[in-house]
Symmetry: C2
Subunit: 540 residues, 2 copies
């Protein structure tokens, strides 16, 4: 492993140097983006590097020193960036009054059963070691609905950031993992139409604007309008799922290809497909509602009326929330999950959708996948958040508790952010050496004579005063080692002591962030003034 | 479930009222402690309440609306308190320069194999669904050692707060869960003797002093001294584990009982037990080292010499770190885990150890357990943090990678905090109604006429200015509903608007934290001054 890892690290280092140069030279965006993509690839490969030499030299018993397929360790720098991202997101959620809850990492198997359609095969089960049958959570939505039903609370606005598990074929370079973070914001409660729905889109816009992920658009559609389109076009009941999934590919494929899939692969009559085509190729802003309302055959359908009324309200509220500039009403957006009942939305990066070559490559790779279905996580490389309204999910649990179908369910609407994608986007814009993973402000240095106990005494005084402090854990450390610890951990200040300073009751204070910090002696400070002086400088 | 839950909630509510009264009356500590214990019991029962009515009325298919045995949901108020605790702890860790890393929730099964002795039977395995055999992590120490070995880093000071999994018999009232949080701080690296070890104890003292958990003592011992005692006392090699575990019970049982267990149950010769007895009943401060050094038969043993030298250094450093007042050198402390190689320590609540009746009851209950072994988590109700030095664990992984025994291992020392215990201690001192789980600062109210869009407009302006704001998700909400939302969520400020105010271009600002907030009209503020005025008041 060592060699391969070393080589990868070397490559990344060289790439970083090149990227710095390109940025300094203000090179073309696309050139930089290409290098950044390469770097991301190298980084994920490095992350996925899994102790291959484990069985290469068998002498004693061998333990595989690696992590399970599709999982990874996060280093201190990863965690530092991840925690910044989480903090930004949580601030937005809390600005909108959300609280957080936590649920177990595994649920009773039957809680998850029947919620994910075909994808149920991706659920991780725990081994039967006696007792209940349990499975690792597949998302945070179903556990949330179970929690709402179980606790009997009538309403809650909550966020939840936690890991979920899918026994998928991992594709590290595409950011598809078996263990990955989800970050959900949901509003549950019996409220008036579209008020919380519009707020979820506002939350998405706030989060994505504040994270450094690039330009994005939130695509919108409504399940009831989509259902009405299929009904009035004459799609047979049993084909609706399949046709809906074909429509969903319109962001990656031209209409001709989608039409072909509908008619040739899925056996839909040509004229039915054409009628669908007149609707699902529509996209735009609020004015699209007028286009729909001008179609009497659609508006005769009750579901269409409800959906259009909802969307009219939505656009009014979205205008007040100043998010009209970020949304696009897109009649081809269908979303895979069964449980949506109203508005659905999906935030996509605009740069990605402007790259037809990439999009087509992804789509054709997806087409080749075994099932013949487009694999969502693969094709939708641009999707960074998604959600919608699901009014019946809590009711499924309440119904089973009360023995009555659908009674007392709590209507919900929510949005889920694709954390791994966001993480890799933000990470790709950061230079590793600029990330300070620790919070250490001061390093206590004795250039010679060791002076361990005196270094300890100074550290204690600084800890007592809330100043994050470290020193070398050696009785007699080399000066170079102490300086390089400051460099490696980007520690801004050094307190330096020698026998002279001890005798005079002073310390030297040195700004390690300055160029040539190893030159010069730093400022002479009375030992009794050390804490006050450091506090002053750290605040500056 | 509803009724039972309601009853529990009612009982807790009544208890809270009584507790408030007792505290106001400055009642005896023990009386309050009794009520607090009862409340904790009720709370955990409430938490563990698991949709019992699921199968009581079968009409359609029934889904069990409950969480798996030994797991629980955390409510918003739980999470709020938990996050305060984590923040306090993380601040201490970061003050000492620690970074955080993350590892997967499951590991390859063989990574965990052979690390936990008898307790290996408590490991949760994932079902074999093809591919690798995996298990849920049992603690954070073994995954940390695996990470250090796998990444090849020579040193790291890291903390990790995450859930671990044990297929134990849950005892919710004792805080023993199958899914629970651990919070670990470890220093890995080839450092000079006892410098990081003393810092770990300093970190424990800082954390426990800052959390509101009550008085505590950190018991200390050294594996090498303990091994030497057994060697010079003449304990046969194959009995050392069993005798060590008997010695560990001296905090709960008198010496006579422990001696009896050694001789009658474990077949040790009486004079061997008596020799052990002269050592393991010793406890005290640094002066105990003089007592040991005055025993030539012990000091002839090389391990004893090493252990005593270590402890002499430790006490010197502990004095500099100002933690001598918190530690107790206790020759009976043995700790269960095999992997410790040097100093071991355990923080216990002093109140608990001062309750011999409770301690004896716990010990006798533990004695009755099937295996005849004291169940640690049950008997040690007083233990809130524990750890020690483990120099060989990383080497186990490195050795297997390199094919050489023990080569290139990274020595480690660390401390793990018992989060569930700490959480329930802190929670028991908090009144539910005083916990504000949300961060909402302002609620926008329209006493009549609905004014939804105007409320939305105000909320948008406040969000844009970083002020956490909510309003009723109804077009025409009742005033009482709006006021009670402020009360329930402890929201300090209300912005109130009516048609009059809109016409005059003003809003009313009302301090909802004041008594009789529903009376009076609040201050009249120009709408253009609203944000500035609120920012000023929120900062005050």
């Amino acid at each position: 492993m060592g060699d391969c890892e070393e080589q990868l690290r070397k490559q990344i280092g060289e790439l970083d140097a090149r990227l710095r140069q390109l940025r300094a030279d203000k090179a073309e965006k696309s050139v930089i983006a290409g290098e950044v993509a390469t770097r991301r690839d190298l980084t994920t490969r490095l992350g996925a590097l899994t102790g291959v030499s484990a069985s290469s030299k068998k002498e004693s018993k061998t333990i595989a020193v690696k992590v399970p397929k599709g999982t990874r360790d996060y280093t201190a720098k990863d965690m530092s960036v991840r925690s910044e991202i989480f903090q930004t997101i949580v601030e937005v959620f809390e600005r909108h009054g959300a609280v957080t809850i936590d649920t177990p990492v595994f649920e009773l198997k039957e809680v998850l059963t029947g919620k994910y359609g075909e994808d149920s095969k991706l659920i991780y089960d725990l081994k039967d070691q006696g007792g209940e049958e349990c499975s690792l959570r597949y998302d945070l939505t179903v556990p949330f609905a179970r929690h709402v039903a179980m606790s009997g609370i009538p309403k809650i606005k909550r966020y939840h950031i936690a890991k979920v598990y899918r026994r998928d074929q991992p594709a590290m370079t595409k950011g598809r993992m078996r263990e990955f973070f989800q970050c959900d914001f949901d509003i549950a409660g019996p409220y008036d139409a579209m008020i919380p729905d519009a707020e979820c889109v506002r939350v998405a816009v706030e989060v994505l604007s504040q994270l450094d992920v690039g330009s994005f658009v939130v695509k919108l559609n409504h399940r009831k309008i989509l259902d009405a389109i299929f009904e009035v076009s004459g799609v047979p009941e049993d084909k609706i799922r399949a046709i809906s999934s074909a429509v969903d590919k319109l962001d990656k494929l031209p209409w001709a290809d989608v039409r072909k899939e509908m008619t040739e692969e899925k056996g839909l009559a040509g004229e039915v497909a054409d009628r669908i085509g007149t609707y699902v190729q529509l996209r735009g802003g609020p004015e699209l509602l007028e286009t729909l309302k001008a179609k009497p055959e659609l508006m005769a359908n009750a579901k269409a009326q409800e959906g259009v009324a909802d969307m009219e309200l939505f656009f009014r509220y979205a205008a007040i929330y100043n998010v009209l500039g970020y949304v696009s009403f897109d009649m081809s957006l269908a979303r895979g999950l069964d449980y949506y009942t109203g508005i659905i939305y999906e935030a996509v990066l605009v740069e990605e959708s402007e790259r037809p070559v990439v999009a087509q490559a992804a789509a054709s790779a997806a087409k080749k996948s075994k099932s013949g279905e487009v694999d969502e996580s693969q094709a939708r490389t641009g999707s960074i958040a998604a959600g919608g309204r699901y009014d019946k999910l809590v009711g499924m649990f309440v119904a089973s508790r009360r023995g009555k179908e659908g009674r007392d369910g709590v209507p919900c609407v929510g949005i889920s952010f694709g954390m791994e994608r966001i993480f890799s986007l933000v990470m790709s814009r950061r230079m590793s050496q600029d990330i300070k993973a620790n919070k250490t402000a001061v390093y206590v240095i004795a250039p010679k004579d060791g002076l361990l106990e005196e270094r300890m005494r100074i550290a204690t005084e600084l800890w007592d005063n809330g100043i994050a402090t470290e020193f070398a854990y050696k009785t007699n450390p080399r000066l170079a080692t102490q300086y390089s610890a400051c460099d490696a951990d980007v520690i801004p200040w050094a307190v330096i002591i020698g026998k002279d300073e001890l005798e005079k009751g002073v310390v030297l204070l040195k700004n390690m962030a300055e160029k040539d910090a190893s030159q010069g002696n730093g400022a002479v400070i009375q030992r009794s003034e050390m804490v006050a002086e450091l506090k002053k400088r750290l605040q500056a």
